[in-house]
Structure formats: structure tokens, C-alpha cells
């Protein structure tokens, strides 16, 4: 088994190189090598999963630095395996989907190489035994995400989006990097399992543990697109939709939650879960409300991703590892489904992303509409789809935990219920009603079944079936089956509000679209719309801070100091030397009388000194 794990880690990296090089010979080779490698990765993971008995534990030393050894170990347990299944399974479907989606792109070798590199990073992250290999996988994914977002780098918007993604996530990563140092200093160990044990046994000082937990959580926030580091996630939608589906919907954004889950005992011991839940609640609310008003298909999904990842964070924060992680797993599948469905629409509709130009597309692509509808049901938490169970569990967890039962659980509830509103709005605007842009509608083509619809179908079936195996997923990700607590009336309340909201959305966005526009034209609604549409202006504030305070203020003043004080001092020596030279030049008039006078004066001084000095 360890050998298989090593192959699993190495294959994507070499595969990326191979896909790139073979693609240079023929573009098709790139796809096929990626497809085959993607499939074999999934099969290897399945094999690892099916033959799982004990965790694969490979402690390795990366390098020795003086008298330290820097570890780089591999540890694959059930949690890792679930994440691996998601990464490789969805990764494979995503590559498959890209056959058509990227068909016209001239840079396919680069694309597939980067995707495989990304999958490799994800595999490394979830199989990491210690902080170093974890951080390496973490950064690999960050790099792959950056490179893939700005895949169409010949346009300014994707290039800017890449910068945004890299810098926002890097800001978080720095804290993870710092926490490696802190952990090394405090415990001398970087092993994740060992750290959990140390924390549970109270071997680490409480305040420091809290600080480290917060540091790691900042990294998680950055990677998982949570408040306040989420704006990059919306911008990341500039990348190819396949990338958004895989990286920014299903896998990479999960890594923040994964890392908290991986160090769950540490977080429990550090008593930092409330912070996780609080930030999760804020993000869930922001994400759900902002998703309501977006006009771009992918942006709705991006905000929804943010909101649903927050739910997973809230689950963890409320103390229920099972609820949070199950939701993460469920979300990965249905969000990939929704994103790829969106990809199918966008591809067919000549890369238009604006929902207001769609409408009535269900006649053009009924299967896509169907599967996206199933995904939407799962997302909005309709039983028996998987989304229902985990969302329910999270809400119950917040209600039963006294720390989170107040504000946090209310926000969670709002965010949970609002899911139906924005996803219904998305579905109705896209598929039902009359086509709003006739020209576009006519141009819209029918997606191919094998390359486009089949992956959607597989995921739709998965999200449906997963609804019946929630307990085993929970057991896998948390090691025990959680005791299901019941909160009376919750189910009824949820269902009735969901139905009500769905009806309202149907009324306003299908039946009376004109009325919606009228309401939206009201000044108050317009300002609310503006705030929500721009994600509460958080990106604006961060940009303002970075540009005006850090660069325009701080960096500029340092630059000023360097130019006008430090370097000016150095250059001033020339001026000083010039002055001194002028001064000295006065001592030399060139007149012989002065020369002789100076000599005589010198003799006089000499005699006086001799006299004082006592030689006389």
C-alpha cells in the first residue's frame, strides 16, 4: 500500500510534465494523457480505499538543516481517503468535461499540465503527515489556482484575477508558514497527529495554542474564501469554468476546512472553535445574501460556495466534526455539478455568463437543466438529497451548542434557507421563462452527451445516492457516528420556509419579471442591491487599504526616506567634499609671498609649541 501512495503522489507531477510534452506533439495527446492519468489516480484511490485497514504512515525526512531534520511525511487515513476520492474523482470528471470545454483552446497542453499539477497538490495536501508537506501541498494548490485563474493571461481581467487570488490566499498562507515556526519552537514536532495528541494532553501553553489556532484559521479563511478574504474567489470566476468547478467549487477551497478538521483536537484544546464558528457565520450570511443579487451565473455559484463552506466551518465551530465534514463532502459533489452545469451553459451559449441574457434554455438542453435542478435541490437542502442531511445536522449542532445557539445559529439558519432563493433564481432565470436574448438563444448549441452531460449525470446520481449513506460518510470523516439530536419543529419550519421562498422566487423571476425590475429601481433597494452586489464592499476596502495605506502610504514613505535621507546622505558627501575643498582651496593663493608667509608662520608655531612643550 505505501508504494501505491507514493505512486499516487508522484503520478500527477510527472503526468503534468508528460501531458505538457506530449501535447506539444499533438494537442489531443495532452487531453488523453490527462484523462488516463486522471482515471488512474481515481482507480488508485479506490484501491487504497477498498483495501483500507490501518492508516498509511510514511514518516520521511526531507532534509537535515544543521542539527534539525525537516520532515516530509505521508499519512493517509480515512479522512484523507475521503478527500482523495473527492479530489481524484471530481478531478477525473473535470478533465473529461474539459475535452469539449477547452476544445478550441490553443493552449491545451498547458491547461492539462496545470490541472494535473493541481490535483497533485491536492493529493499532497490531504496525504500530508506534517506541517511541511501540508504547507507544500497547500502552496502547490495556490500556485496551480493562480496559474489556472490567469490561464487566459492575454486578457487583463484573468491576469488581475490571478494576482488577486494569489495575494489574498498568500496573505493567509503566511500565517500558516509562521505557525510552522511557532509549532516547531513550542513542541519540536510538526507531525499533525502528534500535535493533536499534544494539544489534547495540554502539553502546549494555552495562549500560544490559541494564537497558533487563529494563525492557521487565517490561512484557512484565505484558502476557503471566507470573510474577509473572499473577494479573490469571486474574481477567480474569470478562469475557465472547469477550473472554477474543480478548484474554486469542489476541492481547493475545501482545504481550509480540511486543515481545521485535521487539527480538530488542537482547535478543541485551544478553545478556538468559537472564532471559527463566528467567522463562518458572518461569511455564510455575506455569501448567501450577496448570491441573491448577482447577475453572472458563476458569481452566484461562487458566493454560494463561500456561504456553504462557511456552513461547514460553522459545523466544525459548533463542535461537530461530523456535520462540518459531511457537509464539505456533500457540497463538493453538488457544487461541482452546478459549476460544470454552468460550464455547459456558458460553453453552449458562446461564453456568455450573464443570466439576464439567458432564459428558456431548458428546451435547448433538458438534461443539463434536469441535473442542475437536482444539484440545486441538494444545495437548498431538500430531502432525500445529501445536502439536506448535513445542513440539518449543522443547524442542529449550532442550536444545541450553548456558545453558538444565539446569533450564530440565527445567521446559519438564514444562510441555509436563503440557499433556495438564490439557486432557484439562478435556475429559473436560466432555464425557464422566455429567452431574453433571442439572438443568443438561437446561437446556443446542444452540448454533447458523452463529454458534457455524462459527468453531470454521474455527479447528480452521486449527490442523490450520498443522501442515503450520510452515516457512513460521517463515520469516515470523523471516526464515529454522531448522535443525531432532534430539535422539534425544525424540519417543518425549514421545509415550509424553503417552499415559501421557492414560490416567491418563482413568482418574481418567472411570472412577474417586470415587477422585480420595478422594485429593484427603488432607491432603497438600489442601494441594498449595490452593497450586496459588491460583496459588502469588502474588496473595495481591502484594495483601498493595500493601495492607499500600504503602497501609497507606507511603501511610499519608505521610498521617500531612502531617496531623500539615506541615499541623499551618501550623495551629500560629494557636496560636503566640495565645500571642504573650497575651504582648503582658500589656503592656496598661488602667491609666493603667501607660500613663504605660511612657511614662516609654521616655524613660528613650531617654536611656540616647543616653548610650551618644554623643549626650551
Amino acid at each position: 500500500m505505501p508504494n501505491l501512495a507514493i505512486i499516487l503522489l508522484m503520478l500527477p507531477m510527472f503526468g503534468a510534465l508528460f501531458a505538457f510534452l506530449s501535447g506539444k506533439i499533438n494537442k489531443k495527446f495532452a487531453f488523453w494523457s490527462a484523462e488516463i492519468i486522471g482515471l488512474s489516480l481515481f482507480l488508485i484511490t479506490l484501491k487504497l480505499y477498498s483495501s483500507y485497514t490501518v492508516p498509511i504512515d510514511l514518516p520521511m525526512t526531507w532534509f537535515s538543516l544543521g542539527d534539525f531534520s525537516i520532515p516530509f511525511g505521508i499519512y493517509i487515513d480515512e479522512l484523507s481517503l475521503v478527500m482523495l476520492l473527492i479530489a481524484t474523482g471530481l478531478g477525473f470528471l473535470d478533465i473529461h468535461f474539459a475535452h469539449d470545454y477547452m476544445a478550441k483552446d490553443p493552449h491545451q497542453p498547458r491547461y492539462y499540465a496545470k490541472v494535473l499539477f493541481f490535483i497533485g497538490g491536492m493529493i499532497l495536501l490531504v496525504s500530508a503527515k506534517d506541517m511541511v508537506s501540508l504547507f507544500t501541498g497547500w502552496e502547490f494548490m495556490g500556485l496551480a489556482s493562480y496559474l489556472l485563474i490567469s490561464f487566459w493571461h492575454d486578457q487583463n481581467a484573468p491576469a488581475d484575477a490571478g494576482v488577486s487570488a494569489f495575494l489574498f490566499t498568500r496573505f493567509g498562507d503566511i500565517f500558516l508558514f509562521a505557525s510552522i515556526g511557532l509549532l516547531f519552537y513550542l513542541t519540536g514536532s510538526l507531525d499533525l497527529v502528534h500535535l493533536n495528541e499534544l494539544a489534547s494532553n495540554g502539553k502546549i501553553e494555552q495562549n500560544m495554542m490559541y494564537l497558533i489556532a487563529i494563525f492557521i484559521f487565517i490561512a484557512a479563511i484565505g484558502k476557503s474564501g471566507q470573510f474577509p478574504l473572499f473577494p479573490w474567489l469571486m474574481r477567480a470566476m474569470e478562469g475557465p469554468t472547469t477550473v472554477s468547478a474543480l478548484i474554486h467549487g469542489a476541492t481547493m477551497v475545501n482545504s481550509g476546512i480540511y486543515i481545521v478538521a485535521r487539527l480538530f483536537d488542537f482547535y478543541v484544546a485551544a478553545e478556538a472553535l468559537l472564532v471559527v464558528a463566528a467567522f463562518g457565520a458572518i461569511s455564510a450570511f455575506i455569501g448567501a445574501t450577496s448570491a441573491l443579487v448577482q447577475s453572472e451565473l458563476k458569481k452566484v455559484l461562487a458566493y454560494s460556495t463561500m456561504s456553504h463552506l462557511s456552513l461547514a466551518f460553522i459545523g466544525l465551530g459548533a463542535g461537530s466534526l461530523a456535520a462540518g465534514m459531511t457537509h464539505l463532502v456533500n457540497h463538493a459533489v453538488f457544487k461541482a455539478l452546478l459549476f460544470l452545469g454552468a460550464g455547459a451553459i456558458i460553453m453552449s451559449a458562446s461564453h456568455v455568463k450573464d443570466m439576464w441574457r439567458f432564459g428558456g434554455l431548458k428546451t435547448k438542453m433538458p438534461l443539463v437543466a434536469l441535473f442542475m435542478g437536482l444539484g440545486a435541490l441538494s444545495l437548498s437542502g431538500i430531502p432525500p438529497f445529501s445536502g439536506f442531511y448535513s445542513k440539518d445536522a449543522i443547524i442542529i449542532a449550532t442550536l444545541t451548542n450553548p456558545l453558538t445557539s444565539g446569533l450564530i445559529s440565527s445567521l446559519t439558519l438564514i444562510a441555509g434557507i436563503l440557499s433556495i432563493a438564490y439557486i432557484a433564481r439562478l435556475w429559473f432565470l436560466t432555464f425557464s421563462g422566455e429567452p431574453r436574448d433571442k439572438e443568443l438563444f438561437l446561437k446556443t448549441s446542444k452540448p454533447s452527451f458523452f463529454w458534457i452531460v455524462l459527468p453531470l449525470a454521474i455527479m447528480a446520481i452521486a449527490t442523490f445516492l450520498m443522501g442515503f449513506s450520510q452515516e457512513s460518510i460521517a463515520k469516515l470523516v470523523s471516526g464515529n457516528v454522531p448522535q443525531e439530536e432532534h430539535v422539534s419543529g425544525l424540519f417543518i419550519g425549514l421545509m415550509s420556509s424553503i417552499t415559501l421562498l421557492a414560490l416567491i422566487v418563482y413568482y418574481y423571476f418567472v411570472k412577474r419579471l417586470d415587477l422585480t425590475k420595478k422594485i429593484a429601481a427603488q432607491p432603497l433597494m438600489r442601494s441594498i442591491h449595490k452593497v450586496l452586489f459588491n460583496g459588502y464592499f469588502i474588496e473595495f476596502f481591502i484594495h483601498y487599504f493595500a493601495k492607499e495605506v500600504v503602497i501609497g502610504g507606507f511603501a511610499k514613505s519608505i521610498n521617500w526616506i531612502d531617496t531623500y535621507i539615506i541615499d541623499a546622505t551618501v550623495n551629500a558627501t560629494v557636496k560636503v567634499a566640495q565645500r571642504v575643498k573650497m575651504l582648503f582651496a582658500k589656503t592656496h593663493t598661488g602667491y609666493t609671498s603667501d607660500n613663504s608667509g605660511a612657511m614662516a608662520f609654521g616655524i613660528l608655531i613650531l617654536l611656540i609649541i616647543l616653548f610650551i612643550g618644554g623643549a626650551m
Partner: protein
């Protein structure tokens, strides 16, 4: 050729090259390549001859016993690593200068420089060390002054004068060492022999800080780097700065361990200031090569921090980072120079979209940039991780601030990539043909290979780096 011949023959070869190949300048390239290859082989061969600890004696020459003015050539692991690094860089610099004008003189100055720099790393006699140390300035002065950009004269004179003034402090310190310890041989000097170690420490510290360079003695470097031709910037960053760091390790930290322990905080504080100060300078900079220069300074700040730990792991980390910095910053300088050469502008706003025109060259730029910001898988990350761990172990938790230095790195590198490599093509770029000489590209590719190879397998280097500071385990260092 023996050690001493590798120092002095280059001077003669340089003169002959300049005189005889003036008409047939292509030959001079091959002379340089052959010599540098030989130097590389010689340095690599030294590894197998080194004793398990201490110095390998390469002979004593030109003995003047009364003044203790003896050319003592001894190498240990540290100097052999520096020799190897230097030869690799010289070789690659010779490749990347393939289409330089006035080649006979250019390559003869490079050859001259190679002799001097070998002298620096091989001689253990302080006075001879100083001689070679100063001698490296002369070819650099000419290389910057003749082949440099618009403000080359200002930069060359500033560089020459500034570093020369700093060297004067070093010379005085060496004199004091000889007076108090009775010898110029640094392998024989022990701190206990010295009467005024603090004065000597400060003199040496100031002298070497200029070369490294540390804040606030750094201002010569951006000017010199920017005005120098790109391959010479590589030598400046890869060899001359390393010379400063090497001297700081050898003459300050290893020679005066107790005083260094006492004043390590000075080095630490200056290192931290340099790291952040230069980082912010780089963020604000719109001039491509200046940005790279500030990034280079910022990394030397990291090296200083690692040195300040005075521990086994810290010094190993410092040496690794020195090598990593050389390989990472070199392609950045070369490509900055290349882009300037092609577009005729230094400003990043005039560039953009170069990736579309020259994907492979741009990919190397991206890779080197990622190395500079410390992405795992590159040498930059191993260096930063090592420095973080060793400094936090020595100075405590607050050294986690080192990690935040790489946020600045990410900011200036990613923004630079965006402005130069990615995005829509600017008018200038659209009109430019980014074709590159095969030899120059080869040099870049080798740098790129090193960045990844030693970034993924750092033990290839640490195998040699760790023994260089093994004495710290017995000293019981700071750990």
C-alpha cells in the same frame, strides 16, 4: 593548475586575452569558458580531498615572515562551497554574455575577476584576503563603467568608492588583529588573543555590512545593479554580495564568536530592517531591475537574520539561502536586462504580455519569481523555511515575523509578473521580437533547473553545507 596558479594565471591570461584577441574577440569567449570550466572542476575536485574537518592546505607562497605577509591557501568546506558556487556562476555568466560588445576586454575583465575571487575564497591570510577582496573591485568598476547603462559612471564610481571606504575599516581591523594576536593567519587567530575584540568586531561588521549589504549601507547596490549590464548584475548579486556574507561568517562570526554572541542582536535587527525595508522598496518600485535589486537586498536581510542565530542550523540555513539567492536572483536579473534590451524601457508599465511573445523565457522568469517569493519546490522556500525555523529556535516566538517578509515578496513578485509577463500586450511588446541567443537561454535554463533541483532535493546541498558548520555542534552553539 594548483590553487595559487588558479589565482594568478587568470591575471596573466586576462592580460594576454585583452592584448592578443582584440581583433579576434570570439576566441576570448572560449578562453573564458575553458578557464571557468577548469575552475569548476577544480572546485568540485576539492570536495573529495577535504579532510573530515578543518582545512585542506593548498600551500604557502610569497612568504614575508616579518610582516606575516604570507599567501596561505587553505580551503575548508565553507570556502569550497563558495568556490564551486562562484565557478558555476562565472560559467553561466560567461554564457549569458555571449553577445556583449567589445568582447576581448569584457571577457578578460571577467577572467581577471575570477582570479581575484578565487583568491578571496582560498587565502586564509587576512592581508592577502584583503588584497583579493579589493582587487575584485577593479574589474567590476570597469565592467559597470564601460558596459553599463545610461548612468553607469555615477553607479560605477559610487560602487567603487562606497565599498572601498568600507574596506578601509576592514583593513584597520585586520591590522589590529595582527597587532594583538601576532598573526595574519585567520586559522590561528583565537578571540582570546585579542585585546580589543569589540573595536575589531565593529570595524569588521561595518565593513562587511556594506558589501552584504545591510540597511542603511545598501544604497550603492540598486544603482550598481541597475546600471550594470545584466550578467554583471548576476555577478554582483551572486558573487560580490556572497563575498560579503562569506566574510561576515568567516571573519566576524567564526573568528570572534564571543563578541558576535554579544552583538548578534545588531546583526539581527539590521537583518530584519533590511528584509522589510527592501521589501517595501521593491513593492513601490516600478523600475523592473530596481525591483529585482531590492528583492536581492531583502533576501540578504534574511541571510543576516540566519547568521545572527550563530547556531549550527542557522549558519547552514544562511549558506543555503546564499546559494539559493544566487540562483534565484540571477535569472531575474538576466531577464530584466533582456526585457530592457528588447523593449528599450525599464518601466514595468511599458511591458506586459511578454508571455504571449516568449512563453519559455517568461516561464523561467515566473519560476525564478516564485523562487524569490519562497514557493515550495523552489530553493527560495527551503531557504525561508530553514531561516524561519533556525531563527525562531534561537530568538524565540517573535521571530515568526520573518514569515511576513515573504508576504512582501509575494506582493512585489506577483505584481511584477502581472505587469511584465501577463496581461494584454503593450504597444512596445507587440512590436518587439523577443528572440534570444541560444547560449543565453541555456544559461537561464540551467539556473531554472538548479532552482527546482535543489529546491526539491535540498539535501544535495545540505550534505555539503552542514559539515561546513559542524564545529558548532561541539561548540554547543546557541542551541
Amino acid at each position: 593548475m594548483s590553487g595559487v596558479e588558479l589565482i594568478f594565471y587568470p591575471f596573466i591570461i586576462a592580460l594576454l586575452t585583452a592584448v592578443f584577441f582584440r581583433q579576434n574577440s570570439a576566441v576570448s569567449k572560449f578562453v573564458a569558458l575553458a578557464l571557468f570550466t577548469y575552475m569548476l572542476l577544480f572546485s568540485i575536485n576539492l570536495f573529495s580531498q577535504l579532510p573530515s574537518s578543518g582545512y585542506l592546505d593548498l600551500g604557502t607562497y610569497l612568504s614575508v615572515p616579518k610582516f606575516d605577509f604570507i599567501l596561505t591557501l587553505k580551503v575548508d568546506m565553507l570556502s569550497t562551497i563558495m568556490l564551486t558556487l562562484t565557478s558555476v556562476l562565472l560559467l553561466l555568466v560567461a554564457l549569458s554574455s555571449w553577445s556583449m560588445k567589445n568582447q576581448a576586454l569584457y571577457y578578460s575583465l571577467l577572467i581577471f575577476f575570477s582570479g581575484a575571487i578565487f583568491g578571496v575564497f582560498m587565502s586564509t591570510n587576512l592581508l592577502w584576503f584583503f588584497i583579493f577582496w579589493e582587487l575584485t573591485l577593479v574589474p567590476m568598476y570597469f565592467l559597470v563603467g564601460i558596459w553599463g547603462e545610461e548612468r553607469r559612471i555615477y553607479a560605477a564610481v559610487k560602487f567603487f568608492l562606497y565599498t572601498h571606504v568600507a574596506s578601509m575599516f576592514v583593513l584597520l581591523a585586520f591590522f589590529l588583529i595582527h597587532k594583538e594576536a601576532g598573526t595574519f593567519d585567520m586559522t590561528l587567530v583565537r578571540e582570546g588573543m585579542l585585546l580589543s575584540p569589540v573595536l575589531i568586531w565593529w570595524l569588521l561588521f561595518v565593513g562587511f555590512s556594506v558589501k552584504m549589504p545591510l540597511f542603511p549601507f545598501h544604497t550603492w547596490l540598486p544603482d550598481a545593479h541597475v546600471q550594470a549590464p545584466a550578467p554583471i548584475s548576476v555577478l554582483l548579486a551572486g558573487v560580490l554580495l556572497k563575498m560579503g556574507a562569506y566574510a561576515m561568517i568567516r571573519m566576524v562570526l567564526l573568528l570572534l564568536p564571543e563578541t558576535s554572541q554579544q552583538y548578534a542582536w545588531v546583526l539581527l535587527v539590521l537583518g530584519l530592517i533590511t528584509l522589510f525595508y527592501a521589501g517595501f522598496m521593491a513593492i513601490y518600485e516600478t523600475h523592473l531591475k530596481k525591483m529585482v535589486a531590492y528583492s536581492s537586498i531583502s533576501h540578504m536581510g534574511l541571510v543576516a537574520i540566519a547568521m545572527a542565530t550563530l547556531s549550527y542550523s542557522g549558519l547552514s540555513a544562511a549558506l543555503y539561502e546564499m546559494i539559493g539567492h544566487a540562483f534565484v536572483i540571477a535569472p531575474l536579473f538576466l531577464l530584466a536586462g533582456f526585457f530592457h534590451h528588447k523593449t528599450g524601457s525599464w518601466e514595468m508599465k511599458d511591458m506586459g504580455g511578454i508571455m504571449q511573445k516568449a512563453p519559455y523565457i517568461s516561464a523561467i522568469f515566473v519560476l525564478a519569481g516564485l523562487g524569490a517569493l519562497g514557493l515550495p519546490g523552489t530553493m527560495g522556500f527551503v531557504g525561508e523555511l530553514s531561516i524561519l525555523l533556525s531563527s525562531i529556535k534561537s530568538f524565540g516566538l517573535w521571530m515568526a515575523v520573518v514569515a511576513f517578509g515573504s508576504m512582501l515578496g509575494a506582493a512585489y513578485i506577483i505584481w511584477t509578473l502581472r505587469r511584465v509577463i501577463y496581461g494584454e500586450m503593450s504597444e512596445v511588446v507587440r512590436k518587439t521580437n523577443f528572440s534570444m541567443n541560444i547560449f543565453e537561454f541555456l544559461a537561464l535554463a540551467i539556473f531554472a533547473l538548479f532552482i527546482i533541483l535543489f529546491g526539491v532535493f535540498p539535501n544535495l546541498l545540505f550534505e555539503y553545507i552542514n559539515p561546513a558548520f559542524a564545529q558548532f555542534t561541539s561548540l554547543g552553539g546557541a542551541l
